[in-house]
Symmetry: C2
Subunit: 328 residues, 2 copies
């Protein structure tokens, strides 16, 4: 693992790559009491095209981590230098990067407040660390579409809250509702907001719909403008790709569940999928909304096209836009 | 410190009281990534009346900690047994309980997910620990009234969120807004919610107003019913006391800032104070609302009466309601 300590007096210390092992943390550390913690999810891919290791848009992860840390009054860092450290880390750990389609080394940059002080205050000590784990294909036997329960009770985030930051406190509270949804027979939760049941996210992923409007196909997802949606790297990449493609219009506005239900009833709801680093895209086949089942064609054309394109870029088989695939 | 580990297979392990020291925590522990962490604040008081150590309504802290843990899909525990452990802990550490008015041993029961698993899922390993620190009088030279900045941008909590649980993720996001308010010359933030600027809490305290309505004095605070207000032990105790007193009516509903401003302009805003374990009561002398300063008589009659009564019960000088002051 890679660790770097920060103190208010001394700034960032010397980065160390060392054997994975327990951290010694004061029981009074702010990271254990006040949710002073944030993380990123990234992957390092082996590209058979040139035997290289590659990261995908690491600049976006570093920008988001900086923004998460600063929201929790932790220090910022130099994203470019951190990418160099991540490259070094991947190089040192290269034997852990598995080869083959769908395989990668998952990287988890994390920052926690280590200041042993029980006042709810700015942390004077911070630890940034990166751990890693080899991961296999998310869909070893082809896409496995998921079912969602549209939760009208629990809200993942709120305007004026911290839903647009990747902070720990956004995740813990989702586990119990997700467990309850699973006990009802669903895979994940669809998070709604507001009196008109706006669709925000699903599980820990951004959520996309594809709807037919006249002779147009529209890719529809919640916007970042209100500050309650996580600015996903996969989300942004899908939007960037679709904006460059013919035949699909991108719409960033809050879909309302009644609109989605209506589109489904009129046969205009063509596709739906979650998007995130772990699954890339996760096709949705059913959404239960107020007891009504909205059924969606399991894996649509655009879902597959996005999947193929992104995976192609991840593994260096497709030359993506400049700066997306970064050689270690 | 007191530590108890829990595993899904083995349940709660043997409690250990040991020297204060760093915890060995896996860098993959859920408590460091997903905000699987909650805490309580309590105090152990030395009572000169009978040379006893006392806790104040520990059953309420244990009930709230159970509810926080379960909200984060952590296991529950037996509150009564935990109080016995806390008593044992205070007895062992009795030399750390300072004597004198306003002095106490602050106790911090905390629970964190220690399961080293990066999926956002139920934690199979949990650590509950209690650390302690002697604390002195919050107001060594008499009450020090605070000024509040009514924040119209940041929201501490929301319906469908976890504002009624004492989970870590509620605290980290308040630090940056509080720092900004301090830079503007205020001590703390007054948290509002909704289009009509309902008053919810201030800083990390519950918030009370005392207003004159005709010949009635009303103690006014936000209700717990919507699930976005922390069920404070001090809050409940103040309500319980005032309900037993003549001449004051307790109202649990959301005060709206325009109503508070109007009451102030009409000379009917008599008192305002925050309430919590650390400060007990914290008189408020000024609230800045949309640039307008609401000035409040610095420390009112009821604030002082509540202060005297609660401190009397904490230290055993006043015999409070049954079960409030618990001898170690």
């Amino acid at each position: 693992m890679l660790t770097i300590d920060w103190t208010r007096e001394g700034g960032w210390g010397i980065p160390v790559i060392e054997e994975f092992g327990d951290l010694a943390i004061s029981p009074a550390a702010t990271g254990l009491h006040y949710g002073i913690q944030c993380f990123e999810g990234m992957k390092c891919y082996f590209s058979p095209s040139d035997d290289s290791l590659r990261l995908f848009r690491p600049d976006l992860n570093m920008a988001r981590m900086n923004s998460s840390m600063q929201r929790l009054a932790m220090p910022g860092f130099d994203g470019g230098e951190m990418i160099e450290l991540l490259k070094k880390f991947c190089e040192v750990e290269k034997e852990w990067v598995p080869k083959g389609a769908g395989y990668s080394l998952y990287l988890r940059p994390t920052a926690i407040g280590t200041h042993p002080f029980l006042g709810v205050d700015v942390s004077d000590h911070v630890k940034l660390f990166v751990i890693a784990s080899p991961v296999g294909p998310y869909y070893p036997t082809g896409f496995k579409p998921v079912s969602l329960f549209a939760d009208s009770t629990n809200k993942r985030a709120w305007p004026g809250g911290v839903g647009s930051f990747k902070v720990g406190g956004n995740y813990g509270p989702t586990i119990l509702p997700a467990k309850e949804a699973m006990e009802k027979g669903f895979n994940q939760i669809l998070w709604m907001f507001g009196d008109d049941d706006e669709v925000t996210e699903c599980g820990a992923m951004n959520l996309f719909f594809v709807v037919q409007e006249g002779d147009k196909k529209v890719l529809w997802t919640a916007p970042l403008s209100r500050g309650d949606i996580l600015p996903g790297v996969t989300r942004k990449s899908i939007i960037d790709l679709c904006e460059s493609w013919d035949g699909i219009e991108v719409r960033e506005s809050f879909p309302k569940m009644p609109e989605i239900k209506k589109a489904s009833q009129e046969g205009r709801l063509l596709e739906a999928f979650g998007a995130g680093t772990a699954a890339v895209v996760s096709p949705i086949e059913r959404i239960n909304y107020n007891g009504y089942d909205i059924n969606i064609p399991a894996t649509g054309e655009l879902t597959s096209k996005v999947w193929d394109e992104l995976n192609g870029i991840y593994y260096g088989d497709i030359e993506g836009p400049e700066g997306w695939s970064v050689r270690v």
